[in-house]
């Protein structure tokens, strides 16, 4: 990556090409997407493109066909790759992609609903798949997916909310399971966004959590995931999204964060890394652009931070919740 002055603008066309070329970059062996992530990766790519105003930069039919190839007929859900067992995270990605591509009719909604509901545990949390790994990430995937499908009423909401409140820690944050340390991504974002969908933000100590989130910002402008850890571009989304749901995005320094995200770009090849100087990948490209959208960066499309999908898509489905990002600035 270039060692001259850090970038101060968003290289949209470079990032669009970067995502388009993900299929072609055979010499980019350091960049390794494994099968267990493929469907999620497509969702990250598509959402990033949508936020940058290039939602049709990838072939729609091919993408939808690929999603359907990930269908696990036995389980009634989607795996991350053809031949992989159904998993709740992949299933959410599939639903999100199909909705963004206006192809939800390709999916068996009832069977998928059944698959998701079958993963709810007696404690209220959700498992990821039949293997039984539990985590508030999977809880969020379930709540998000069921909400998108209009089937939220079929799950046990009380138990879910109860589990989330048991994950609340002394610092106002949330952990990945009961007893675990507060973590901006796998605790705070997923719990707060799930609560937003369930209209139960009363579970959140808004002031304490808002303060805890604002404390994630480091002197270089970047955000970390928990106290005294390193900054990472992806927290630009996790932290910012949670703050926007609490309507406290102004509590962080937007200019400094913007500067940090932009400096993590690869100005030649496109893509965004976890921090300046590191290798780019589609995960950080997506979350970097998502963070910039919430910050009101000019030229980007509004992102719904609760569902992490284009805001107009969510609005059309009547699912918009009371979040607030920064005003979109003029170019």
């Amino acid at each position: 990556m270039s060692t001259s002055t850090p970038p101060t603008e968003l290289f949209i066309s470079k990032h669009v090409s970067y995502i388009q070329n993900l299929g072609e970059s055979k010499d980019d062996l350091a960049y390794h997407l494994t099968a267990h992530l493929r469907l999620n990766a497509i969702y990250w790519g598509l959402t990033a493109l949508s936020i940058m105003g290039h939602s049709d930069a990838l072939n729609r039919e091919e993408m939808v066909d690929f999603v359907m190839e990930c269908w696990d007929e036995e389980a009634g859900g989607f795996g991350a790759h053809p031949g992989h067992d159904a998993h709740i995270h992949a299933t959410l990605s599939a639903i999100q992609i199909l909705i963004m591509q206006d192809a939800l009719d390709r999916m068996d909604v009832d069977r998928v609903t059944k698959f998701i509901l079958s993963l709810q545990q007696p404690s209220g949390v959700f498992a990821g798949d039949q293997w039984g790994e539990i985590d508030t990430r999977f809880l969020y995937c379930a709540v998000n997916a069921l909400s998108l499908l209009g089937k939220l009423d079929l799950m046990d909401k009380e138990k879910t909310v109860d589990y989330i409140s048991r994950c609340r820690n002394f610092d106002g944050g949330f952990g990945s399971v009961v007893g675990a340390e507060s973590h901006a991504a796998q605790g705070v974002f997923v719990c707060v966004a799930a609560l937003a969908i369930l209209d139960r933000l009363d579970v959140v100590d808004l002031d304490t959590l808002g303060w805890w989130l604002s404390e994630r910002q480091l002197p270089n402008g970047g955000l970390n995931g928990r106290p005294q850890k390193l900054e990472d571009v992806c927290y630009s989304f996790w932290v910012l999204s949670a703050l926007s749901i609490l309507k406290k995005v102004p509590w962080i320094d937007a200019d400094k964060l913007t500067g940090f995200i932009l400096s993590a770009q690869d100005p030649e090849g496109g893509g965004i890394a976890d921090r300046p100087g590191d290798m780019v990948d589609v995960f950080h490209t997506h979350f970097g652009v998502a963070g910039l959208s919430i910050l009101g960066y000019p030229g980007l499309v509004d992102l719904d931070p609760v569902y992490c999908m284009p805001a107009d898509v969510i609005e059309k489905r009547g699912l918009r919740k009371g979040w607030k990002g920064l005003e979109r600035r003029e170019k």
């Binding site: 494994t34 099968a35 790759h81 067992d85 007893g179 604002s214 106290p227």
Partner: protein, 340 residues
């Protein structure tokens, strides 16, 4: 015939005669990959055979060999983990042998969820948590803040809660970790979990005594390294948890909100440990805390004092959160505007 010098372990499954009866199932290649997998020939070979095994439903020793090969190349392959677990149970493999193997993989693949979930499953069957504490301590030597590792420890303690001995060394363990790095947020969180978050230990029923002990502990650590958000969060946490007022800490905190004093007393007071001579003062977290004390007094006069402190944070000591501190100022002034 394998080339001379090449041992069986490095052969692909397609080259091993003992696997000749299995029909490998190739990965679906016909769809134009939008986010392609870059995998080695060995991985492709192993997963082809994995799909063959899954199709036939075989559960045997060689399946363990195969799934281990996959996991070593891709520790996040959740299907392989699940099938391995089912196989272990189906063929009655001694699980402590499996755990030993997992010890090696866990250290190598610390940041993978699957490694830890597999361990949890095994422990619910072996029910031998004591050795696990030692294993977790070793893992933390490699990565002291690993989220999965700490979460696993919390799970273990909570799941086997009624085994009193399990908790005996826990406070000492946290202390050791904090001695190594007083800024380890995971360790502070764990301390809260151990003392306040998972039942009451025998002999610790007098909660006010425990609160006193913990206050001394956290103040000691703050005095050693004042600019440590984790310690201050812990202090706030224990006060809130016990509904104890912040105001009791006023004298302790005040010293940290100003530059080092030249005429310091050398008398040691456990209740009021002073800032370490090398510490950078004033300490932003202390200023925050003192401001909160004033705000809690709910008078206009106190609100103005808090405002002064918040202004110093906004303009000097914590400028990146300027807007947050300005919000606190507005809030407190609004709340006390009728108080003359």
């Amino acid at each position: 015939m394998p080339p001379i010098g090449e041992d069986s372990a490095s052969l692909k499954f397609s080259q091993k005669p003992e696997w000749a009866d299995v029909v490998p199932v190739l990965q679906y290649e016909n769809v134009n990959p939008l986010a392609p997998i870059f995998y080695s020939e060995e991985y492709k070979d192993a997963t082809d055979y994995f799909r063959g095994i899954v199709k036939s439903g075989e559960k045997s020793d060689r399946v363990l060999t195969l799934t281990e090969a996959i996991i070593r190349q891709n520790p996040a392959h959740y299907s392989a983990w699940y099938y391995r677990y089912e196989t272990l149970l189906a063929i009655n493999t001694p699980l402590d042998v499996e755990l030993k193997l997992m010890d090696e993989l866990a250290v190598k693949y610390l940041k993978t969820y699957q490694v830890w979930h597999h361990r949890r499953l095994l422990l619910t069957i072996t029910r031998k948590p004591a050795d696990e504490l030692e294993f977790i301590a070793r893992s933390l030597k490699v990565d002291a803040k690993n989220y999965h590792t700490w979460s696993y420890r919390q799970w273990l303690l909570a799941y086997f809660n009624d085994e009193e001995d399990l908790w005996t060394g826990e406070l000492d363990f946290v202390d050791t970790m904090l001695n190594q790095d007083v800024r380890n947020n995971s360790a502070w969180h764990h301390r809260f979990f151990v003392v306040w978050g998972c039942g009451v230990r025998e002999g610790e029923e007098d909660r006010s005594r425990i609160l006193k002990r913990e206050l001394i502990y956290v103040k000691q650590n703050i005095s050693l390294a004042p600019n440590n958000p984790s310690a201050w969060n812990y202090l706030r946490g224990i006060l809130e948890h016990n509904s104890a007022p912040y105001s009791a800490l006023k004298d302790f905190v005040a010293v940290y909100t100003v530059p080092h004093s030249t005429d310091r007393t050398e008398i040691v007071d456990l209740e009021l440990p002073p800032p370490d001579k090398g510490a950078e003062l004033p300490c932003a977290q202390a200023i925050e805390f003192l401001a909160d004390i004033y705000e809690q007094e709910c008078t206009r006069e106190a609100a103005l004092k808090a405002t002064e402190l918040w202004r110093s944070l906004a303009n000097e000591h914590d400028t990146i959160r300027k807007k947050y501190w300005e919000h606190r100022i507005r809030d407190a002034l609004e709340a006390t505007k009728d108080d003359v």
